[in-house]
Structures are given as C-alpha cells and as structure tokens.
C-alpha cells in the first residue's frame, strides 16, 4: 500500500491509537488496520496501555461521576501525544466533543480535557483531513454500500472522507443506500434496553442495504456494524460486513464480522 505525499511538514507524527472496547474485545483486526493506515501515512503509532473505555456507557446512562473518573483516566493515558485517533466516530466524538463539558466546575481538568479534545480524531477523517491522504493502494473485489454512523456523521462531519478513499480501492464499486444517514438502531445500551424498537430500526436498515444489491456493508463504527451484521445474518442475508478501515488497509480478505474462520 502507498499513500500520497504529506501536504504539510508540521503534521502530527506521534499518534496514539484509542483502540475502543469493542475493537479490543471483538475485532482486533480493525485496530491493526488502523495502525497500518497510520504507519503508511508516516505516523509513529503507540497504544497507551492504560486506556480502557471512553466512558459512554456511564455517560449515556446519566452516571456523571463515573464518566468523569473514566474521562480523567483517558486524559492521563493520552497525555503528550500529537494526536489521538480512534477507529470510531462514537468514541472519537466522546473525546473531542463531550469531555470538556464534564469538567465545567474544574478549570484545571477542563483545560486538560479541551487540550485532548483539540487533538482527538476519528481515524478516516484524520487520514484525509489532517494527513492529506487521498488514496490507498488496496484492492477489494465487490460492490459495497456505506452506512454513515451517527456520531461520526453529525458530530464530526465524517461523510465524504471514507467515500473518497474507497473510490481509490481497486475493484470496488460503491452503491449508496436510500437513507445511509438514518440510525441503524444500535445506540449502545439502547439496543438491549429497547430491543423491539432497535429491531424495527435495524430491520429497516437491512432492507435498505438489500435494495442496493451490494455484497458488502461497510461503516466506521464496530457497534453499528455488529448490530447490522447480526440482523443481516439472522435474516439469512449473504451480505458481508466489515469495518471500512479493514478494506482501506487491504485486510478485506479475512472472515467478515460474524463469519467463522475458514478451515
């Protein structure tokens, strides 16, 4: 794989990967794909060992005290890096958009949270908008459709960046859904607290995916991907589901989400 030359000589070099809980536990290949894309773009990638979770489960349940404690832990763990990059718009948005508001009554912590927020990014937006990557040298033979995950799209403005990079993947054609911007119904704990509503939402999403006749579904957030993969597979669909970073990093030949290892 090759990338285009850097646009600026002052771009961040020392990048910390925020792995995210789901990638860590369920799909490490997304983390390695992220590392590859960042290293190919000229970054030195570190994975701070004290990172755990961004705190969203507590934040969205209304447990502000726990959220603050976890945020403080994340702020400590990622001190000193030029950039913090997550293969997720949801976790990336938590760091860059929600942390500062947790410390309104603590100016010192607020300043540190704002400092972290200012150097936190979603992976694909970081590659395109900050590093100036405009193509990858990967190959993926198939018709893909791309789901815009909510936080990445509406909090971070991730929309064209993944499509631009997918456009440079050999053998890949993109087929848009009618409503790629409508939520898939995952919503973190929402999908188990309100399973019937979540199911209605992901059912609509899977129908939209099917109508594109694409053979592969991509997105930038593993939570949404697991939700949609689970629904498609329950319905007997043959659509394969992958994280966009895997395809961009040329790692699109391994078993898809929810598929067994090939023997």
């Amino acid at each position: 794989m090759s990338t285009s030359p850097p646009k600026s000589s002052t771009r961040p070099r020392r990048v910390a990967l925020f792995v995210t809980c789901l990638v860590d536990l369920f799909r490490p290949s997304v983390g390695f794909a992220a590392v590859k894309l960042l290293e190919d773009a000229g970054c030195t990638v570190d994975v701070p060992p004290l990172q755990v979770c961004c705190g969203q489960p507590a934040y969205n349940t209304g447990d502000r005290a726990t959220t603050r404690a976890i945020a403080a832990q994340v702020i400590d763990a990622f001190e000193g890096y030029d950039a913090v990059v997550a293969p997720s718009g949801s976790c990336g948005g938590m760091l860059s958009h929600h942390y500062p508001g947790l410390f309104d009554d603590d100016p010192a912590m607020k300043a540190r949270a704002e400092n972290l927020a200012g150097r936190s990014y979603e992976l694909i937006a970081f590659l395109v908008d900050v590093l100036g990557v405009d193509k990858v040298a990967a190959r993926y033979d198939g018709a893909v459709t791309y789901h815009d995950s909510c936080s990445g799209l509406r909090e971070l403005g991730v929309k064209e960046q993944p499509r631009d990079l997918l456009g440079s993947v050999q053998g890949l054609t993109l087929r848009e859904m009618k409503t790629p911007e409508v939520c898939c119904g995952f919503g973190g704990t929402f999908c188990v607290k309100y399973p019937e509503i979540s199911n209605a939402m992901v059912g609509e999403k899977s129908a939209d995916i099917a109508s594109t006749e694409a053979d592969t579904l991509l997105a930038g957030d593993l939570g949404c991907l697991m939700n949609m993969a689970g629904k498609l597979q329950r319905e007997g669909s043959t659509v394969r589901v992958r994280h966009v970073a895997e395809v961009l990093a040329g790692m699109g030949d391994q078993p898809a989400i929810g598929e067994p290892e090939r023997s």
């Binding site: 755990v52 209304g62 199911n199 209605a200 697991m226």
Partner: protein, 472 residues
Amino acid sequence: MESTAHAFKANVGHALADPNLQDSLAKLKVGFSERRRQAAERLPEFEALRDRARDIKNHTLAHLDFYLEEFERKVIGLGGHVHWAPTAADARRIIAELCQSVNARTVAKSKSMVAEEIALNEHLEALGIAPIETDLGEYIIQLRNEPPSHIIAPAVHLTKDQVADTFLEHHAKLGFDKRLTERNDLVAEARYVLRQKFLDADVGLTGANFLVAETGSSMLVTNEGNADLSNTLPRMHIVLASIEKVIPTLEDAAVLLRVLARSATGQESSAYTTLNTGPKRREDLDGPEQYHVVLLDNGRSSVLGTEMQDILRCIRCGACMNHCPVYGAVGGHAYGWVYPGPMGAVLTPQLVGVEEASNLPNASTFCGRCESVCPVRIPLPKLMRHWREREFEKHLTPKAVRQGLAMWSFAARRPALYRRLTAMANRVLALFGRADGRYRALPLASGWTRFRDFPAPQPGGTFHARWAKRKS
C-alpha cells in the same frame, strides 16, 4: 389527557404490531424529511435564519417577564383581556367561566396542543359545553375519541381507509351514508359538516404559534383556514397559549415564520397566516366582540435558568419527530402523552414528572438527527441526557441497568483488572463461537439475540494482548 408514558414499553409493543400504523409511518418517514430537505436547500440563508431564530428565542426567554407584561399591556389597550393561568386547572377554570359567561353551548376549536395539555375538551364536556374540533385531523381523531399522535399532523397515524370508515360511522346520521374512497371527497364531506358548526358556535378557541409583544397580536398558521373561521365567526375569541410563545416584534415573527413552515411541512409558508389583534373595532364588519388571551405556565417558568431552558425555544414545528427513527418506528401514541418524539421526550418529564415519563428520554439512540433539523437548534440529545442524569441521581434508573453499570465501571476504572476480564471474555466467546462465527442465543444478552445474531470475537486474543506480543 391521562398519561400512559409509564407504560411506554407496552405501548411500543402495540404500536409495532399495528399494521395500519406501520403503513402510515412508512409514508411519514419519507415524505416530511424529503420535503424539509428540499425547502431548506431552496433557501440559501436557511442555516443563518436558524441561528437568528435561536437567538430571538434566547433573547425572549432571558427577558420573558418583560415581554409578557408588554404583551398584556398591549392586549388591554386594544380592549382585550389577559388571564394568567399558573396551572392547567387554572386554565380550565378560566376558560369554562368565560364560556359560561356567554352561555356557550358549543366551542369551535382550532388545533391547540396546549388545549390537549390541559385536557380542555373533557372538562368542557363535563360542564355540558360541546367542543368541536375544526382542524381536519383533530376532527377525525375527535370522532374516534383518540388523542393526537403528532403535534402538527394529529391523525397521521391513520390510513385513508380508516378515515373513510370513521366518517361513514359518524356522518351516516347526517345523511352521508356512502363510504367515500377519494381523499378530496372525504375533505369535502368534512368541510360541509363542519361549516354549520362554525356558524352555530358561541365561542371560538384557538392556540397561538406566536404572541407578538409589540402589537399584542396572537399569530396563527394553518393550512386549512379553520382557525380564521374559529376566531371571526363566534362572539367570543379565546386564545390559549403557553408563556414561551411570546416574541418581541413582528420583525421577529417574520424570521420565525420563515423557518417554521419549511421545517414542519417543507412549505415556504403555510396557506394561512393570521394575526388577531384585539376584539372587533367599531369600524370592523365582523370579528369577535370579546377577545381573551389565557397565558398558561404549567411548570414552564420553573425551567427558566436551568440546564433544560433550551426546550422553551421550541416552536412546535414537528421536525424532530419527523426525522426521529424511534418516532418513525412506534408513532406518537406510544409516548403516552401530548407531546411525542424528541421534544416530547424532553418536555413530558417536565410537565407530568420524570417518575411517570422516565422511559422517554432513555428511548433514544442519541443519533442526533433531531438536533440537526431543529429550526431553533435545541440540543435535544443533550437535554435527554440531562434527564437521564436526574433519573440516575433520583435512583429511577432500572436496578438491572444500575447494577450492570456498577460492575462495568468498577472494572473500567481498573485497567489491569479490565484487561484480565476482557481477555477471559474474548477467549470464552471466541472458543464457543468458533464453529459458526456467531451466536444465535447468548445468556444475559437475550435483548440482542432475540432479533439478531451476536458476532463472536476473532480468535487469537484481544487487541491489547496481541499488541503486547507484537511489541515484545
């Protein structure tokens, strides 16, 4: 109306199993959002107007007492009356007394969500005064004895066939005994039936989209013109409006009108925009002899100055529910009270109590689509999260959720322990899921596996375990 917000989960079950409702929602989801998108695109300054609309409402809320008193002074100067109603009961009593003062037998009502909020119709009926809904959608649901399911399209949950059956059932005794199938014929029949009711009404009652402080006017937008008949034909016109409807000037109204219709229905403006400024003057040929404005607080003033204040900017366009995937899945009745969708999920706990409505702010994925279309930029997900925080503080969060969260956060705050636990979970889930790559059922995750397979982890350990190996 009586709240069933506490029964949200049961309401959802009924809604998802109702094929007529699901048919209607399928149309709503595509129609409203597409029309709004086109209307916004046709107006280059639309985003800038949203900022101005937000600023106008913020300014007004910061000086609400001043503008309300200014409005009152103007209305009195015009020969009208202003009645302050701290609670729903006060508003009901004031309106009933006004109706009784002219021996009213019927009240022609133009659509008003605040009237729903104070359960006005039930109250008037109990006193022997017949409220007649004149908005077509409201008229349909009044015949069916149902509450509205949407703040601007109250009968949006019904199909045309259901309306045809309802009209046949209720209009046959008036001589209309043919079941109609064409939309236009249904509208014509309703218009004919309603026209006589307008002429017979003793009192006209309307809501207000805006109250203009500088002129003392109440402003109404409709697409049917029914409000204009409600407020010009009867002898008494009563405007029922909540306190946050006041705005400073007509200039401000012009800005808000430009975002209102576009956000609501995708129209450039609604078919009728009417200003009522006091009772009939000596030289006027028609109009009401008495003009009353009932200003309802019902808990709103207690929101001022709190983290929830932004919800008082709401201009009731319905865009948040039109774009909400949860509303789109279950419709308005599931929310259990007057205001559905994201704005309802924020407002209802305030008005009926968070204990009663605790589910509503939780039934959101925080997808943010509501905020992205709100004409006055209300941060609806943030306000819903504030409700979750209050529920957590009050120990209203379900016990299972609290316990799960407590266990998770114990581990999440201890990275070394968390690593060991995730490594174990990864090994177990990967091992037993190896053959299929996924689970069709999983203990403790039935909410997921009832409808979806659960992907097994990739074999080979967690990312952190593998990364540590790569580094060594």
